[in-house]
């Protein structure tokens, strides 16, 4: 390892400045949320003259924040649980049993992974209508749980690399398939489960297109969709729009700040295996 020299220090300071410039859009948004429009004109990048949360209160009420926060939490949590449960169980079978059926299933899922929602959305729209799942939370959860296919590929790779000894020992002791999986295999999959959950959490939480198509702009809208609805509602009233944007982003920002190490670490570790 080379020493930390004066040149490194200069490089470090340069990079911090670059980081600062990189994050200016976020900074502008936050300071503007406390400013009046004339104040934005006077000093676009300066700190606000006073901090007043009145607009935030109005924005919270305007988009019925807590109601839709609950919907987002509900849809995201159930979807992620389903993705983990189905993805890991399917991966276990596909990784441990190699016969024609599992090979076929693997390729079948691979095709499913490739086909973009854009290609299937029109028939899906009609199917969902026939099943009475349009504009329902369970309908959207049903669609999101298809994300299990991505989880399946991550899990399969990981399970293949695991030794079978423990499972064989448990089988000799008379444990059934189901018990072996949940008591022995699943706990060992913890690192993959963490990566899968975190990434799917972010994807489902931020999803717009599925919600837009299959939930509509109804009472069931997720928080991400409320951004879209709110933008229509407060058209051109920046003093409400900017605080609204910020509060809708807060949950995921907090999630990122708390899970930061895991998120970036998970991406780095996950891509090494993939």
């Amino acid at each position: 390892m080379r020493r930390y020299t004066a040149r490194t220090l200069v490089g470090e300071i340069t990079m911090l400045v670059v980081c600062g410039v990189f994050l200016i859009p976020i900074y502008f948004l936050v300071v503007s949320s406390f400013k009046t429009q004339p104040e934005i004109l006077r000093s676009p990048l300066g700190l606000p003259e006073s901090i007043d949360f009145a607009n935030y209160g109005e924005a919270l009420e305007g988009i019925n924040f807590f109601h839709h926060l609950w919907i987002s939490v509900y849809i995201t949590t159930i979807s992620v649980v389903l993705i983990v449960v189905f993805g890991s169980m399917a991966a276990y079978t596909i990784a441990r049993k190699t016969n024609r059926l599992t090979k076929f299933l693997r390729n079948y899922f691979l095709i499913g992974f490739m086909v973009p929602i854009q290609t299937t959305m029109l028939p899906l729209f009609i199917i969902m209508g026939d099943l009475n799942l349009l504009n329902t939370k369970k309908g959207l959860i049903f669609l999101h749980s298809a994300g299990a296919v991505f989880a399946l590929f991550l899990y399969t790779g990981f399970i293949r690399a695991m030794p079978r000894d423990l499972e064989e020992a448990a089988a000799v002791d008379g444990a059934g398939q189901f018990r072996i999986f949940w008591k022995i295999v699943f706990p060992l999959l913890k690192p993959v489960t963490a990566t899968v959950s975190i990434f799917n959490f972010v994807w489902v939480w931020n999803d717009f297109i599925l919600g837009f198509l299959f939930l509509g702009t109804t009472d069931n809208a997720t928080l991400t969709m409320q951004v879209y609805n709110g933008m229509g509602q407060f058209e051109n009233d920046w003093s409400i729009m900017i605080p609204m944007l910020i509060i809708t982003a807060l949950p995921i920002v907090i999630f990122f700040l708390v899970m930061q190490k895991r998120i970036i670490g998970g991406l780095i570790a996950g891509s090494l295996k993939g």
């Binding site: 390892m1 080379r2 490089g11 470090e12 990079m15 980081c19 990189f22 859009p25 976020i26 502008f28 948004l29 429009q37 934005i40 004109l41 676009p44 990048l45 079948y108 095709i111 499913g112 490739m114 086909v115 973009p116 929602i117 854009q118 290609t119 299937t120 959305m121 029109l122 028939p123 899906l124 729209f125 009609i126 199917i127 298809a146 972010v202 939480w205 931020n206 999803d207 717009f208 297109i209 198509l213 991400t224 951004v227 879209y228 729009m241 944007l245 809708t248 982003a249 995921i252 920002v253 999630f255 990122f256 930061q260 998120i263 970036i264 991406l267 780095i268 891509s271 090494l272 993939g274």
Partner: protein, 269 residues
């Protein structure tokens, strides 16, 4: 849930189905001919393809040097990684709307407010139909570059430092070390990253919706929005299905190439 709708899309693409009436006629290749011949329909297609070429190129060219820097020995490197990664966890909708405040053509937009303050004239920015698409590219690159740099970072960490040191002692220049040692180590990440970028760019929807809603005029309508306009808003399900299927073919070719490239790489290692 995927295969059945795919077959249905294929079937609808030869009909004049409108999504409602149970009766519809078989029209052969008419929908495909219409898509390829109508300027209004083919434009979003070509625009999306161009977008999917430019975005991966720019992101890759910027993400690799960024990864090299973030892999350095800076004390604040975790903070730097987090800063560049940060936009990736926000929804595209949020990013799009946030940038409309910065790039707004009104005098309150950040860029215009700054321009006016320093005595320059106001610019149209997002309201300029020639510029709008490039501004969308800018925002995508901004939001993706950190995430992809982290992908490269993973590969960088597999390089044995002794290898670089040996090359240094042997008199290899910094560029030579990068070209002959670092770059080959980055190919696995590059295949993944470029494929994700191309497919993500082809599917792009939220961000242009938030930034321009396809405008000004029709200058930023992308493939997905175009399919939704035709299929759901104008009830031309048959036509939209043909568009979707063409779109699927493009993605299938790219994915297939990608899988082949990756398995060939796997054989080499």
């Amino acid at each position: 849930m995927v295969i059945l709708p795919l077959i249905q899309t294929f079937r609808y693409s030869f009909t004049n189905y409108d999504g409602l009436s149970p009766e519809y006629d078989f029209v052969g290749l008419e929908n495909y001919r219409k898509t390829l011949n109508s300027e209004q329909l083919i434009e979003p297609f070509i625009r999306t393809l161009g977008f999917s070429l430019v975005v991966p190129l720019l992101v890759t060219v910027m993400a690799i040097p960024l990864a090299l820097v973030l892999n350095g020995r800076f004390k604040t490197r975790n903070f730097q990684r987090a800063s560049f990664f940060f936009p990736a966890v926000l929804s595209a909708l949020f990013l799009g709307y946030s940038w409309t405040f910065i790039l707004s053509s009104s005098k309150y937009g950040m860029i215009n407010a700054l321009l006016e303050k320093f005595g320059f004239g106001r610019q149209l920015l997002l309201a300029d139909s020639d510029l709008a698409m490039w501004l969308i590219v800018l925002v995508v690159v901004w939001s993706q570059v950190g995430w992809h740099a982290c992908l490269y970072l993973a590969n960088l960490q597999t390089i044995d430092p002794a290898l670089l040191e040996a090359a240094d002692i042997d008199g290899a220049s910094a560029f030579q070390r990068f070209r002959f040692i670092t770059l080959p180590h980055l190919t696995p990440a590059m295949t993944v990253s470029v494929a994700l970028l191309i497919i993500g760019s082809l599917k792009v929807f939220d961000l242009p919706i938030a930034m321009t809603e396809g405008g000004p005029g029709r200058s930023t309508i992308m493939m997905t929005q175009s399919i939704i306009i035709q299929g759901l808003s104008s009830s031309r399900v048959g036509l939209a299905s043909a568009m979707s299927f063409l779109f699927f073919l493009v993605i299938a070719v790219i994915t297939f190439t990608q899988v082949t490239l990756m398995s060939r790489q796997g054989d080499e290692n």
